[in-house]
Subunit: 376 residues, 2 copies
C-alpha cells in the first residue's frame, strides 16, 4: 500500500508527445519498490541483469508483451537501446544485406509520410540504395500516402513505413500488403502507437519503436522481427545492435536498460488489467473522437489531416487566430493541462493522448477549448 503522501499529490494532465505520461498506478508501484523489490532488499536498478530477480522481471515483460500483441511464435521480441532514431540506422544494417546472398545490391523502399519517415529515409541512405516510393510531402503531410499509388521496386529487401507520424498526427490504420516478391517485407516504425490497438504483427517483417511515447520511459527500444530475417547484418553492424546476436543472448548481450524494461513491464501489466489491447483501443477511439468531433464542430479550431489518416494518439490543432496561441497555452497550464504546444516545425497545438491519458483528461481539454472559444 502506498504511503499517504503519494495519494494526495497534485498531478497534471500531461499531453506531452514523448517522453509522455505514465499511468499513476505504474509510477506508484515503481516508487513503492524503489528501495526493496519484493523483499529482495534491493531496488530494481541495483540488480545484476544476470541474477534471478531481474531475469524474472525481464521474462515477464517479454511474455506480457508477446501476449498483448499476439506476437506469432516465429517472431522474436528484442529489447535494445538507441530509440527510433538509432533504429533508423540499425534497421538497414540488419535487413538490407539480406539479399546479398543472391548476388543483389542492398536496396530498400521508403514511404515518406511525415517528419519521422523523412529522418528514417535519410539515415538509411548510408547503407544502400534507398528509394522514396511514395510521399505526401508536397501536400504538406496531411494524409498517409495511399498504398495503391506506391511504386515498389522488385529488388527491395523491405518497404519502410512510419505507421504513426507523431508530429503531423497521421496514422496508417491498415498496414498494406507489400507483395512479398523475392522476400520483400514490410518494416514499420511504430514508436508512437504501439500498444494503442491490436496490431497484426504477421503483416510485417519487423516493427520497432522507442518506448517513451506509449509504453514507458525513454531508453528502451522494442524490436519485433520475424526470425528468418535474422543473421544477415552488414559486417559493419555493431554487435550490440546485431539483432541476431541480441536475440541469441535474450537481449542481454550487453547490459540491458534494466529499469526501463521494468517500468515498461509494469505498463504491460497495467494494460492487461485494463482488458488488453481491444479494450485499450475502444478507450483510445473514444478519446480521439471526443477531441476530433469538437474540433470539427468549431470554426475556431482546425485540424487539417484527412479523416481517414487521422492519428488517435497525436492530434495537432490550430487556432484560427494564431495570435492567441500563447493565451491558450497559458490558460491550459493554469488549469493543470501541460505540454500542449505543437512541434516547432508545425506550430499551433498538439494533444498527445496516449494510453495513459484518461478520458477525463480529454474531456477537461475539450471543456477548456469550449470555454476559451466562448471568451474570445
Amino acid at each position: 500500500m502506498l504511503p499517504e503522501p503519494f495519494l494526495c499529490m497534485k498531478r497534471v494532465f500531461n499531453f506531452s508527445a514523448g517522453p509522455a505520461a505514465l499511468p499513476d498506478e505504474v509510477l506508484r508501484t515503481a516508487a513503492e519498490e524503489m528501495l526493496d523489490w519484493h523483499g529482495s532488499g534491493m531496488g530494481v536498478m541495483e540488480m545484476s541483469h544476470r541474477g534471478p530477480e531481474f531475469i524474472s522481471i525481464c521474462d515477464q515483460a517479454f511474455s506480457d508483451l508477446r501476449e498483448l500483441l499476439a506476437v506469432p511464435a516465429d517472431y522474436d521480441i528484442l529489447f535494445l537501446q538507441g530509440g527510433g532514431i538509432g533504429e533508423n540506422a540499425i534497421v538497414p544494417m540488419n535487413l538490407i544485406g539480406r539479399l546479398a546472398e543472391q548476388g543483389r545490391q542492398p536496396a530498400a523502399d521508403y514511404v515518406v509520410s511525415g517528419s519521422w519517415s523523412v529522418k528514417s529515409f535519410k539515415e538509411a541512405r548510408k547503407y544502400g540504395d534507398i528509394r522514396v516510393v511514395a510521399s505526401n510531402e508536397t501536400e504538406g503531410f496531411t494524409a498517409f500516402p495511399d498504398p495503391a499509388g506506391w511504386k515498389l521496386n522488385d529488388d527491395s529487401a523491405y518497404v519502410h513505413v512510419c505507421t504513426n507520424e507523431t508530429i503531423h498526427g497521421i496514422e496508417c490504420h491498415v498496414p498494406p500488403e507489400v507483395g512479398q516478391k523475392d522476400g520483400r517485407v514490410l518494416v514499420a516504425d511504430v514508436s508512437s502507437h504501439i500498444l494503442s490497438r491490436p496490431m497484426n504483427i504477421s503483416r510485417f517483417g519487423a516493427v520497432y519503436g522507442g518506448a517513451q511515447k506509449n509504453i514507458g520511459p525513454a531508453g528502451v527500444t522494442i524490436v519485433i522481427v520475424r526470425k528468418d530475417l535474422l543473421g544477415h547484418a552488414l559486417p559493419i553492424t555493431p554487435s550490440a545492435f546485431d539483432w541476431k546476436i541480441v536475440s541469441e543472448f535474450g537481449s542481454m548481450y550487453n547490459t540491458p536498460p534494466t529499469y526501463a524494461i521494468y517500468v515498461a513491464g509494469l505498463a504491460f501489466q497495467w494494460i492487461k488489467r485494463q482488458g488488453g489491447l481491444a479494450a485499450i483501443e475502444q478507450r483510445n477511439v473514444a478519446k480521439a473522437k471526443l477531441l476530433y468531433d469538437f474540433i470539427d464542430g468549431s470554426d475556431f479550431y482546425l485540424n487539417n489531416v484527412e479523416k481517414g489518416s487521422r492519428s488517435r494518439m497525436n492530434i495537432p490543432f490550430f487556432l484560427a487566430d494564431e495570435s492567441r496561441n500563447k493565451d491558450f497555452l497559458g490558460g491550459a497550464k493554469a488549469r493543470g493541462m501541460v505540454q500542449l504546444k505543437g512541434h516547432k516545425s508545425v506550430g499551433g497545438m498538439r494533444a498527445s493522448i496516449y494510453n495513459a491519458m484518461p478520458l477525463e483528461g480529454v474531456q477537461a481539454l475539450v471543456d477548456y477549448m469550449r470555454e476559451f472559444e466562448r471568451k474570445s
Copy 2:
C-alpha cells in the same frame, strides 16, 4: 521527507558488479519524486526532453559531472545509449577515420588486460587495422601490462585501454602517456571505476563508460572527448552515435534516456555531498585496504592479482578449498550480503565495492569471512 515505510525497509549489502548498489539517499529521492518532480505535477519519466524541467535536470547533471571530474573546457561530455559494449564499435567509428584526411589507413592499438579489453579489441576489428600492442593474457590477466613494454605503432589514431577490468579485478592506477605522435591519443573504457577517484582527463583523448557500475542505472553511457577529435566519424556511423552530432545537439539528437540521466545526476550530487572525488577516493582506498589486507593475512582466501594492479572496485577472491564456495555464498546471503559470486569465466567470489558500498558493508563481509574460516 520520505514517508515512514521507506525508512524501515530491510536493505542488503549488495556486492553486484553491475548494475550495482546505489546510495539509499539517491533511491529515496527518486521514490519521493516519482509522481511529482518539484511540484510540476509530473514525474521525471513523463517529461518531454525538450521542456524546461528536464533541461534543467540534464544541465545540472552535465555541470556536476564536469565539476566532479574537473573536465577541461576543451572536452565535451556526452550522454549516449548502448553501454560500454556499444561503445566498443562507436569508439572506432568515431576516432579511427581521423587520420584518413592525411591519406592514412584506419588503424588503432589495443592493450589487452582482461575480458573487457579483449571484447573491445575484437569488436574494433570491424572498422580498421587493429593491433594488440600489449597483453597479459598468457599470464592469466593478473597484472595491468607495463606501459614500458607496449609496442605502439606510429600510424595509430589511438591507443585503447580498459583502466579497470571488472571481471579480473585489475586497475590501471596511472594512465600512461602515449606519445601523441601524429596526434595519437589514449582512449579508455572507464566504466567500472569512473568517479571512484580523481582522474586526469587531459591525459586522454576520450574516456567512456556505462553508468551502471559506479554511477547509476543501466541505460546511459558517458563519453568525455576532446573537442578537436570530433567530426571525423566513418560514413557508416549511425547519426545517433556520431559524437559530433550528439555534441551539437547537447546529447538530445535523439531522445536521451531521461530517467537514467536524472538518477545519475542524483548520484553526482550525492558524491558532491560526500566531499567530491578526493574524499570518495579516501573512502574507496580504505574499503579496498580492509578487504585486501584481510585476504593477504589469510591462507584460507586468495587473490592472485599483483599488488600494483589491484582494483579498488572489484575484488575477486577464492577459497583455498573451492568445494566450500556454495556454503560461503549461502552463509553470506543469510547475513544480508548478496551478489558475491564470481564471474562465470573466473569462478570463486567477487566483491564489487563501488562508491555506494559503505565501509560497514566491507567490514561485515570481512567479519563473515573470518567467521567462515574459523568454523571451517
